[in-house]
Amino acid sequence: MKLKILLKRAIKIMGQALTLAFTMAVILWFLFPFYWSFVTSFKPPSDWLTSKYIPFLDFQPSLITWERVLSLPETHRAMINNIIISTSAATLALVLGAPAAYSLARFHFKRWKNRDIATFILSLRMIPPAVVIVPFFIIMSNLRLLDTWLGIVLVHTTFVLPFAVWIMREFFLDLPKEYEEAALIDGGSQLTAFLRIALPLTAPGLIAAWIFCQVFSWNEFLFILVLSYNKSITMPWIIAAGEHSRGIEWGLISSYTILAIMVPITLAILIRKYLARGLSLGFVR
């Protein structure tokens, strides 16, 4: 009898240990590719492809790759482009999206129901990017916007705008409307109620949505590849173009990767509270 209880307890502990071990393994698996890029970026070129993985013990870390990467004009251009493009796309998305979100959260429309308009905006998000590769390429080449910031920003905005509307709509719904009503009674117009009261009060939401859009634009690759070739290239573009005539420069690509990854990861950790809400289109609150 005692043995049975003991056995049961042993099985339970074994099970818990196995679950913990499995979880640890998954977490290591999540971290490992980051570590691998990081370590490779500090390897001297002769060690790029070797499986040495502990700095100082296995190999002598060197800054050769980083010095080269940071002095390449291509790197500067790509980083600056990335910052300009993601900031502008996120800003444009909110300039267009926040008023629309406010309108959907606060007013009744007569002809269509509000939720139908919101759903319609969501349904546009569901169009696969493949469908718009060709038209975007033709439109941008006709408008002479190939390989320009503006062309990329316009395209990125179309992808983040539905997110901006949906996230902001949730924030405006959470806002008690008594404040705005007070402003209206004091003789303000709907527009001042929105600009002076609702917008400042949802500032945290506005920033979260802005960062959310930035992360998406920052990592976007397909349309950068289709629409730019020189002037408006971003970090994903130069990372992907890693196969040079001199063969693949693994260390170089790894430092590019670390540079490119740092920004969205930092931003995402900052707004992690709002990530689920945004990614599930308000389905999870």
Partner: protein, 296 residues
């Protein structure tokens, strides 16, 4: 001016004024391109030769269904979508359930679980490509210990797809984890406390309380993830470039290729639209689910 109980009623043009720029933008940059592309799918147009587009009716579509390369990419897309989404669902659910505890270790683990999703996909795919490398990669060093020979992770047509799936699962388990754990945390704690009082086991609590509570979220998260997985492009581009041959191409990759390498814009539009038609039902399911939960 009248006030209704729930909302402010107005009779002026401000609501429409606020909404119009957004709708106008979406019309010009999403609806118009989509319609343009639909029209173009009925034409044959080689962009680079500067010929005028010629109307060919549904020829592009019949051509697609006789194009082995298109059919292979369609198969790959759905193989990756189904397998990767299933792995992500199970692993994400497991992590969300297990890491839903307080304590420093668990909060750090929860943050780590978010990282893969946010990492620039093309960048991290290169890291995987180093690990998969046939001659020098770390994986083959370990495989070599057991089998004595190297596994061609990316250069074998059958294995390449599964390498892509592995990378996709690595990157997007985060997504399922994030949505599931947010759902678990957003529900009231009382049922679980009640279950504790009655001495329910951990498994019983999961099976009879947590899972039923989060099942709508699981459904929507899985559908969203599946739809996104079908659009896979970045990791394919870096890991295999569609190769060897065209054995690991996906629909988005083939559309890109038909556009930027063959310059047959009509045909590219046609295959993109076939893909859209197939995924349309799935998007409708998501839309219906999300709409049903809309507030306001």
């Amino acid at each position: 001016m009248r006030f209704s109980v729930r909302r402010i009623r107005v009779d002026n043009h401000i609501p429409m004024l606020l909404l119009a720029p957004c709708l106008g933008y979406l019309f010009f940059f999403t609806i118009f391109p989509a319609i343009y592309s639909m029209g173009l799918s009925l034409f044959s147009w080689h962009f680079i030769t500067d010929e005028a587009p010629t109307f060919v009716g549904i020829d592009n579509f019949t051509r697609a269904f006789n194009d082995l390369r298109f059919l292979v990419s369609l198969r790959n897309t759905f193989l990756i979508g189904v397998v990767a989404t299933s792995v992500e669902l199970l692993l994400g659910l497991f992590l969300a359930l297990y890491l839903n505890k307080s304590g420093l270790f668990f909060s750090i683990a929860r943050i780590i679980c978010l990282l893969p999703m946010m990492a620039t996909p093309v960048g991290i795919s290169w890291s995987w490509r180093m690990l998969f490398n046939e001659q020098y990669g770390l994986f083959n060093k370990f495989v070599g210990l057991f089998t004595g020979s190297a596994l061609p992770f990316l250069s074998d047509p059958n294995l390449a797809i599964f390498s892509i799936i592995l990378v996709d699962a690595w990157q997007w388990t985060s997504f399922m984890f994030l949505l599931t754990s947010a759902a678990i945390q957003s529900f009231p704690k009382e049922p679980l406390e009640a279950a504790d009082v009655f001495g329910a086991s951990e498994w019983q609590k999961i099976r009879y309380i947590i899972l039923p509570m989060i099942s709508p979220v699981l459904l929507v998260a899985t559908l969203l993830r599946f739809l996104e997985a079908l659009k896979i492009f970045d990791s394919v581009f870096v890991l295999t470039g569609g190769g060897p041959g065209y054995s690991s191409e996906t629909i988005t990759f083939y559309t890109y290729f038909a556009t930027m390498k063959f310059w047959s814009l009509g045909y590219a539009s046609a295959i993109a639209y076939i893909f859209y038609a197939i995924t349309f039902v799935l998007s409708l399911m998501v839309i219906v689910q999300v709409r049903g939960r809309l507030r306001g």
